[in-house]
């Protein structure tokens, strides 16, 4: 899977690494700002209040 990705990418090895780093950053940003906040809404967080 990742091997195929490496083979698909154009250019010499250092260009591929740069492209991969950019892709990785984009994926991480998407996770942090959209995916994880969405997932969070399905996860119960510890309760912090004493029962009224």
């Amino acid at each position: 899977m990742y091997g195929a990705l490496w083979r698909i990418l154009p250019g010499p090895w250092w260009v591929r690494i740069v492209i991969l780093l950019v892709l990785l950053t984009a994926v991480l940003a998407a996770l942090a700002f959209w995916v994880f906040p969405f997932v969070q809404t399905f996860i119960t967080t510890p309760e912090v209040t004493v029962d009224q």
């Binding site: 996770l31 942090a32 967080t45 510890p46 029962d51 009224q52």
Partner: protein, 288 residues
């Protein structure tokens, strides 16, 4: 490369050798494809594992940074609004009548009855919490009510509506997350005897002093009593109570931090830092 008779010279058995080589290649190709299916599965599983780890890291550290920054900006903005209001109305509450001449001894300001504001509507901002022990960047909104989705999960501290307001005789009790959603009480267990806990409202800064921690069951509502854990005792002092979850990451118990009221610093447009105590100047003066 464990191909045995590969470099045999051209000979009558050439055809046979070629056939053998071809079948070996085919075998290698087939086995290569099989490995790649398992490989893809493995890579997917590794990816899933990394995603889970990333999510945990995001929950633990990333949200604390982003939500913390957001809340600090919000608080700084509110602080400036209140400062402007104070500047426009030079003497909103002439609480301290200048009875005596400015004496030459620079003593502590005389103890004065702190003002008590009316509670805001549910989920509206009541004030801000400043705890120097948790760093000058710790500047977070306290909202009215302990709603999970509208207050606590936004990283704010929630005021138990049944308890007193800051400065009132009785108990001012607030709750917040310890992990995730900003983790506004992440370091509640690091408070030391005598640490100051400030609550800032439009009228000024209420200084509380941390006394002790307590651990109770989730049903331990005694911590909200006007005199904590003494439902029969009429209150004569002003307390602050912080509640969060314990052990960290779980809901099995609650960790409680108590403080007592020490003094009030009125917001004053003519004073340095609008009358904020020196200890919080770095926090409230962040964007002055």
């Amino acid at each position: 490369m464990s191909v045995g008779p590969e470099t045999a010279p051209p000979s009558p058995v050439d055809a046979e050798g070629r056939r053998a080589r071809r079948s070996a290649e085919r075998r290698r190709a087939r086995s290569g494809r099989r490995v790649s299916i398992v490989g893809v599965l493995g890579e997917l599983l590794i990816t899933a594992g990394v995603l889970v780890l990333l999510f945990i890291g995001w929950q633990l550290w990333f949200t604390e940074l982003t939500v913390g920054n957001e809340l600090k900006n919000e608080a700084t903005q509110q602080n400036q609004e209140w400062n402007e209001q104070a500047a426009q109305t030079p003497k909103p509450t002439p609480s301290s009548t200048p009875t005596d001449e400015p004496s030459d001894e620079p003593t502590e300001p005389a103890w004065q009855e702190p003002p008590v504001e009316a509670a805001p509507a549910n989920a509206k901002r009541l004030g801000m919490l400043i705890v120097p022990r948790w760093g000058a960047d710790y500047y977070r909104t306290i909202a009215e009510g302990i709603g999970v989705s509208d207050v606590l999960n936004k990283g704010k501290l929630g005021h138990y509506p049944s308890t007193a307001m800051p400065g009132a005789v009785g108990n001012f009790a607030i709750a917040a997350h310890r992990m995730g959603h900003g983790g506004s009480l992440h370091h509640i267990n690091e408070l030391q005897l005598g640490d100051h806990i400030y609550v800032e409202t439009a009228s000024g800064w209420y200084e509380y002093e941390f006394r002790n921690l307590e651990f109770v069951h989730p049903t331990g509502i005694g911590v909200l009593d006007p005199v904590p854990q003494s439902p029969e005792t009429p209150a004569t002092e002003r307390y602050i109570t912080l509640t969060s979850c314990n052990p960290q990451y779980t809901s099995n118990e609650r960790i409680i931090a108590y403080g007592v009221f020490m003094q009030f610093f009125p917001r004053d447009a003519n004073a340095a830092n609008f009358g904020a105590p020196d200890e919080v100047a770095a926090t409230v003066g962040g964007a002055a």
